[in-house]
Amino acid sequence: MFEFLLHVAIMACLYGMLALSLNLQVGFAGLINFGQIILFGAGTYGAALAFANGFGPVAGLALGVAFSTAIAVAFAQLGRNLGADYWGIATLAVAEVLRILITNEVDLTGGAQGIAGIPLIFGDWPRPVGPLMTLGLCLVILLAAWWFCRRLTESRFGLALKLIREEPMLALSLGYDLNAARTATLVVAGAMAALSGFVFAHYVTFVGPDQLVAAETFLIWAMVIIGGSGNHLGAIVGAILMQFLFAFVPFVKDAFGAPAEYVAAMRLTLVGGGLLVFLMWRTQGLIPERIGDARPAPATGRPAAARMVEKHNG
């Protein structure tokens, strides 16, 4: 049980990184990215390909960040001529295309079989110590990412991002290069997601395309929306909450004597149901974005995603 909880805590930290990364894009820059999971995949495959070709973990991390940067720049270029909501669909399409490419490039990526045997972090240590140290490392990375995000969004750059998110035409008229700011945000957020993927690959020791399905993106979205879009702590809380709820599901299944396939269905229901409930009744999430001089957002505050769509519809 202790090792199981350790595992859930480590995964919560890795998802926390992904949620922070998505929150930076959605909550602060208004970038409706539905392809988030492929930025994570850049990190997992960076680690796996470096390992498969006989390079060390440093090369793996560098390769992962190089992949995520390339994808982030490609995403940003897509956005030049697309409205925010159409851009979101385009990112989803790019992520799916890349996943299918990975599945079929068997020689390079191992195809659907993936790449196994990636060295475990702290693998030389005895059993509860190794995972405990892994959790420690993940916590340190998560806290560093949190500090990084806070520093970024509390700066003048963060203020500019908010202006671009809410009134792009106004920002443009004041001399802000929207595309440059969006590209910078995507590259930084992409590197954070890739770092999460890199650690994940060295923790579960296996990398495959099934880890990169679109449903994973929407799980991260649920974490951000439920936790509070535009609030870093909210994103982390959302990630931890969802991970521990997911871990709780098998016990609920056992208590009701339900068949094993109910576990996946219940998790999916949690994601979809959670998204719906919060989008309808508490759009600002559990921990709302702060506006102005540290005052909570008004109850009418709607997340960037909802407002973008409304704005587009007139």
Binding site: R151, L152, E154, S155, R156, F157, G158, L159, A160, K162, L163, R165, E166, E167, M169, L170, A171, L172, S173, L174, G175, Y176, D177, L178, A184, V188, G230, E289, I291, G292, D293, R295, A297, P298, G301, R307
Partner: protein
Amino acid sequence: MAEMAAETVLQGTGIAKAFGAHQVLSDVRFRVADGEIVGLLGPNGSGKSTLLNIVSGFSRADAGEIRFRGNALSGLAAHDIARRGLVRTFQLPSMPTRMSVRQVLAAGSREGAGLVEAFLRRPADDPEVETLLDQFALSAVAHQPASSLSGGQKKLLSIALALRTRPSLLCLDEPTAGVHPQLRSRMVELLRAFNARGVAMLVVEHDMHFIRELCSRCIVLDRGEIIADCPPAQLAENERVVEAYLGKSVERPKVLS
């Protein structure tokens, strides 16, 4: 000739724009000199806002050339034009819902707004923000979400924002529409004060009183053509202007049989 060019802030020649079959601007030629406040008048649909959009890079002209301080602007992105000191406001300014008035005004200056700079120094309080809040009578609402301001206050905030970028030419799109008369005279004072500090202005406006108080010269557009270019006092004597605003005395066309 070189001296002439140095005095000219903005010069447009042969500007044309059509939306489908509808010719909005044809062969428009105008000039704004250093230190001038020029009014841009004309009935609704005469092409004023289109011209402002073209000048500020938010729309592309089909033909013609715009020079800002001697340099051609054609092909430049809107943010590049703004960075060169030609800044515009919008007819219906829309303001952020999740930023306070003070935050919006702080974001008006791009100084220190780079990604790397976020980690080099802490954002410091800018005294210029407080000065502008005070000048534009927005201090009392500085902590409110910018979207909660009244229409008139949003206009004031958008002008303050544009001035925050330290433009050398300010293009205002109907600055007084929806603004309380008391604030209107305050706006005239403020714009004059900034003009005295070297900001030239091009002002689209319907309020003739405001125009007479503020502008040294007026350009009048009608159906995409310039029909007058004179001091505001002479507008009433200009036949074409009176015609454009009030209409011609109607003569029934003679129809054959």
